[in-house]
Amino acid sequence: MLEKLETMRQEAENDLQSITDLQTLQKVKHDWLSKAGKVTELLKAIPTLEPEQRRPFGIGANEIKTMLTERLNALEEQLLDSAGSDLKLDLTIPGFDFTRGGLHPTRQMRDDLNQAFLSLGFEIYNGAQITTEQSAFDNLNFKPDHPARETMDTYWIAGTEQKSAKERYCLRPHLTGASVDYLKEHGAPARFVYPGMVYRNESTDPGHERAFYQYEALIVEKDFSFASGRLLIDTILERVFGKPIETRMRAGFFPFVEPGFEIDMRCQVCGGKGCGVCKYVGWIEIMPGGVPHPNVLLAAGLDPMEWSGFYINIGLDRLVMMRYGIDDVRLFHSADLRFLEQFK
């Protein structure tokens, strides 16, 4: 009978060798290991044997069973692994588009700057967009009939344009007026930013808009040194350009600051050697700034001998144009999705 065992072992080996796919595997499995399978038959035969043969035969039959089970399991794993999926795909087809929708590039810039200033403990303030001559000019030390008023051609509200001071209303031509309102409300010390849209009655071209986004920051502290104002400048430029930017402060005149500055940054195109972008001076005028004029602090109810500080004001549109190389400022208000969708 033990010869039969050897024959069966050989047969099992042959069957295992014949397996080429899952189907033949299943057949072999069924032939040998099912209830009516050959292994069962062998085991069923044990009681019919001579007593001394039963034990070796049983061990041999179980060996065959174990061998078959292990080999079949291993083969099945192997065949399953190699089979993979039936799916045949063009994997160069793009993935699902999750990028629809986005924020306006100017707002993204504003948010970047807000984040930087929030980390310095600055508050965010929204002033009114309709304001008065008093708030936009008188409070800011723009003297009546002074030519400086002309630098900001203002949209006056119909019906009030012939009046004056607090009865003459306009779309705000700049943000600075809001600073006095804030200081009146909150007092000093103060540090806040107040970004927003401002409006000027100008003719438009690729470099000029009637509605543009400005970002202004003001810090008011006791005996603040003007040189400390660099903090505001550096915060902005480092955030925009992602690295420290060399700047210089030079004489500039704006009625609401004293001293007033024009702030230039190193030309990032030529690194300061001089090129067409910086008109061969190595510097690009980037923002005005300065110490709040005593008359402005007075208008805000603060004692100018006690309080000082620093303003900066930067045009976000121009920064965004620099960031992406945009050549026409009018696109910002175009609501043209072909333009806006580029700025995810």
Partner: protein
């Protein structure tokens, strides 16, 4: 404003090694931005005097001629010329090959090369005045006219720069940054500033010290408008052409030379910044009266324009008639012509505001008015007188000074500012030496004394008309002359206060992120002024809206009370490029002068209005949870003016309705020109939606035993709403969710089948099939009884 470096050098000996680049940089850093500079001599390289020897016709072109010219070389040169006034023997300006000229007087200079013109060799170009930037010096009567050097002491081959003394460097500075500095509106003022920057002596101007009999009678009616009026009588002038050097200098600063007397007044103005005016004495009747105009009084100007004056306009008149608009422009009658022999020279001080108002009203912004409107000091009259007399003596030796009248009603007082040393040091962030402060300010003309910690600064008259009056002004003078870059950055020290919490601003930001990042909407900006067409499309009444006095265009006068019209326009524009899109805007809208609000609006454009409507509703529903706002309800109370009948909803909180959503009506779409797209819009007032100071939702324990989900369909009358079903079934189950609705097929007309899912559960144990069936039967019964529903028997 333009500055002549040669002129500056007459007043201050600049260091020999100072480059123009350095000077421009120093002036920019400390005083006024230099916009550019031009080396006039260099621009005339290879441009020389030539004499026309022979003229021959051009074989190919009627308008051109071929000239043989002597330009100081061994052989004659051949040049093709289109000049209309070319003649043999003429002294002309020849641009030789290698020179640069402005082609037809426009654009950037281009290089001249030897070439063939219509087949004839031409070794250069005979220039018109515009081609070499000399329109002022050689005004051309017609385009093709070339410069004729007749009357000049010129010889062939002489460089034009040498002939004209044109070796100057002209610096242009930004006018805007010196509107507060009346002292800088003249060459002498700039020289003074440079002397201060480089700590060099400034040479004095000639002093007026004539002893003259009293001259013409002068009356000033309003001292506030005219603080000083000096009248110098000059007789027997020979009013010829000015010498070349003066014409050249005026021209290089963009002032057209006229005749000697007029040129002197302009020269004086450019130098000291004080406008003066010469009247032909024969037209002045009985004396000068400085008075306000009578309402409607007429004045004919030099350029023949007739002005109708107002009482607020200041006039220079004589006993019988108006002569000139004070400080702005002379009249036709009094003008000084080439044959004028006797003049009255006005050197006066007019007030800034009045001059500016008059000039602005009549649109006459002249060199004169633009200087007076900066507020000049009365002492400058003396400077102008001194320089004028010196020039008269040099250039018009025949002229006799016969009388002088000088009314000084309100001399500019030297201002005085006291400033504490400690104040300066704290705000400059550095210690200061008393002597250093005195020296720095002294260079600018301040007279400074120091006593017990306080500097007393006497402000020079030329800075005392409003420019310097406060301690902060003194601080600025010290800092800028010492150099802003010399003050080291010190990090500001601030006290740490309460942490910021600005929930409303955060909420607005969260909403923008929700709509853009999660819901796929693109943010847009539109203008606050809206075109009438889109206001009308949105059904918004125009009458009560705010308007701009001078709008960008007549159709864009109204300020938006809603973001919807702007978004309708945006949809209209984008429909040509996209089949479907979603846009939103957060912006300010205007109700009246004192009421504005921050709004949010969005527009979804695509194919299926129903789908878009529920997408819009879902977007609004997401706000409370995802943007941390208070909760709100959807109601139907106030139909938006732009919404299709019945297809709209409002959002409402405790304060009331604060916005809505709906399908854009077909009427609105027609009016706006939106063709095929379905559009759903929503708008809410963000100021009325309150942000939560923190999260307000609470945790719910997870079920101890698993919940069982069961789907149910019920056929209901169309008028029965999902809200009714939810309200009825909700309390009977752990949770309930809408799945879909269905009409047609087996469902009778006027009814629909609503499908929804409920979750059942028990705290006592896992529910058995019997318990579940029992609960479902209870739900079915209630739907039948309360809402008239029919639940089809399942399988």
């Amino acid at each position: 404003m333009k500055i002549s470096l040669n002129w500056i050098k007459e007043f201050v000996d600049l260091p020999a090694d100072l480059s123009i680049t350095q000077l421009a940089s120093d002036l920019t850093m400390r005083t006024v931005e230099v916009e550019g500079y031009e080396d006039l001599g260099a621009s005339l390289d290879n441009i020389v005097v030539a004499r026309v020897e022979v003229i021959q016709p051009h074989p190919q072109a009627d308008r051109l001629r071929v000239a043989k010219v002597d330009c100081g070389e061994a052989e004659l040169s051949q040049v093709v010329c289109g000049g209309s006034n070319l003649y043999e023997g003429q002294l002309v300006v020849l641009a030789k090959p290698g020179s640069f000229v402005k082609w037809h007087g426009e654009g950037e200079p281009v290089e001249i090369k030897a070439s063939k013109l219509r087949g004839v060799d031409s070794a250069g170009m005979i220039c018109a005045s515009a081609e070499i930037g000399m329109e002022e010096l050689f005004p051309a009567k017609e385009e093709a006219e070339i410069v004729d050097l007749q009357g000049y002491d010129a010889y062939p081959g002489q460089p034009i720069s040498a002939l004209l003394g044109r070796n100057d460097i002209i610096i242009e500075v930004d006018n805007k940054s010196i509107t507060n500095r009346p002292d800088l509106w003249g060459q002498y003022g700039i020289a003074r500033e440079l002397a201060a920057i480089y700590d060099l002596p400034l040479k004095p101007l000639p002093v007026f010290q004539e002893i003259l009999p009293s001259g013409i009678n002068v009356e000033i009616e309003n001292a506030d408008r005219c603080a000083r009026y000096a009248a110098l009588s000059i007789e027997g002038i020979q009013n010829e052409q000015s010498p070349v050097w003066m014409r050249e200098r005026l021209a290089s600063l963009d002032v057209r030379p006229v005749n000697l007397m007029v040129d002197i007044t302009n020269y004086v103005m450019l130098c000291v910044g004080e406008p003066t005016h010469a009247f032909d004495a024969t037209h002045v009747d009985g004396g000068i009266v400085v008075r306000q105009a009578k309402q409607g009084e007429k004045l004919t100007l030099l350029n023949d324009e007739v002005l109708e004056l107002r009482e607020s306009d200041l006039l220079i008149a004589d006993k019988t008639k108006a002569l000139a608009l004070a400080g702005v422009m002379g009249g036709k009658l009094d003008s000084v012509l080439d044959d004028t022999r006797d003049v009255i020279l006005e050197v006066a001080n007019f007030d800034a505001i009045g001059t500016r108002r008059t000039a602005t009203h009549f649109g006459l912004r002249t060199e004169s008015s633009s200087r007076f409107e900066k507020a000049l000091d009365t002492q400058r009259v003396d400077q102008a007188l001194g320089l004028t007399v010196a020039l008269l003596k040099e250039l018009m030796p025949e002229a006799r000074l016969t009388g002088f009248t000088d009314l000084v009603l309100k001399p500019t007082a030297a201002g005085s500012v006291e400033v504490e040393k400690q104040y300066l040091e704290k705000r400059l962030g550095t210690e200061l030496k008393v002597e250093e402060v005195k020296a720095l300010l002294g260079r600018l003309g301040f007279d400074v004394t120091y006593k017990e910690g306080v500097f007393s600064c006497l402000v020079p008259s030329w800075r005392a008309t409003g420019d310097v009056s406060l301690p902060a002004d003194i601080l600025e003078e010290i800092a800028r002359i010492r150099g802003y870059e010399s003050f080291a950055f010190t990090p500001p020290v601030v006290a740490l206060g309460k942490a910021l919490n600005q929930p409303q601003i955060q909420m607005t930001q969260h909403i923008a992120q929700l709509l853009s990042q999660r819901l796929g909407m693109q943010e847009v900006f539109t203008y606050p002024w809206v075109e009438e067409r889109y206001l009308e499309a949105a059904g918004i009444e125009k009458e009560s809206l705010l308007k701009l006095a001078t709008p960008p265009s007549p159709e864009q006068a109204h300020l938006r009370p809603s973001l919807v019209p702007g978004l309708i326009e945006a949809v209209q524009l984008n429909q040509h490029h996209f089949e479907s899109f979603k846009i939103f805007e957060q912006g300010v809208v205007f109700f009246d002068l004192h009421n504005q609000a921050q709004h949010l609006a969005f527009a979804l454009a695509g194919e299926d209005a129903e789908k878009l409507l529920f997408e819009a509703k879902g977007a609004l529903q997401a706000i409370p949870r995802l943007a941390m706002s208070e909760a709100f309800d959807f109601v139907q109370e106030e139909a938006p003016s732009w919404a299709e009948h019945g297809l709209w909803l409002n959002v409402k909180n405790k304060q009331g309705v604060f916005g809505g959503l709906g399908v854009l009506s077909s009427k609105a779409k027609r009016a706006a020109g939106i063709k095929r797209l379905a559009v759903v819009m929503a708008e809410i007032n963000l100021d009325a939606l309150h942000a939560l100071p923190s999260r307000d939702n609470a945790f719910k324990s997870l079920p101890v035993y698993p919940l069982v989900a069961k789907d149910l369909s019920v056929i209901l009358e169309d008028k029965v709403s999902w809200a009714q079903v939810e309200k009825l079934v909700g309390p009977m189950v752990r949770d309930i969710a809408y799945i879909t609705e269905f009409r047609g097929g087996q469902v009778p007309e006027g009814k629909r089948s609503l499908s929804f899912r409920v979750w059942l559960g028990s705290d006592a144990g896992t529910m058995t099939a019997v318990e579940i069936d029992k609960r479902m039967v209870a739900i079915t019964r209630r739907l039948e009884k309360e809402l008239g529903g029919v639940v089809p028997t399942t399988k």
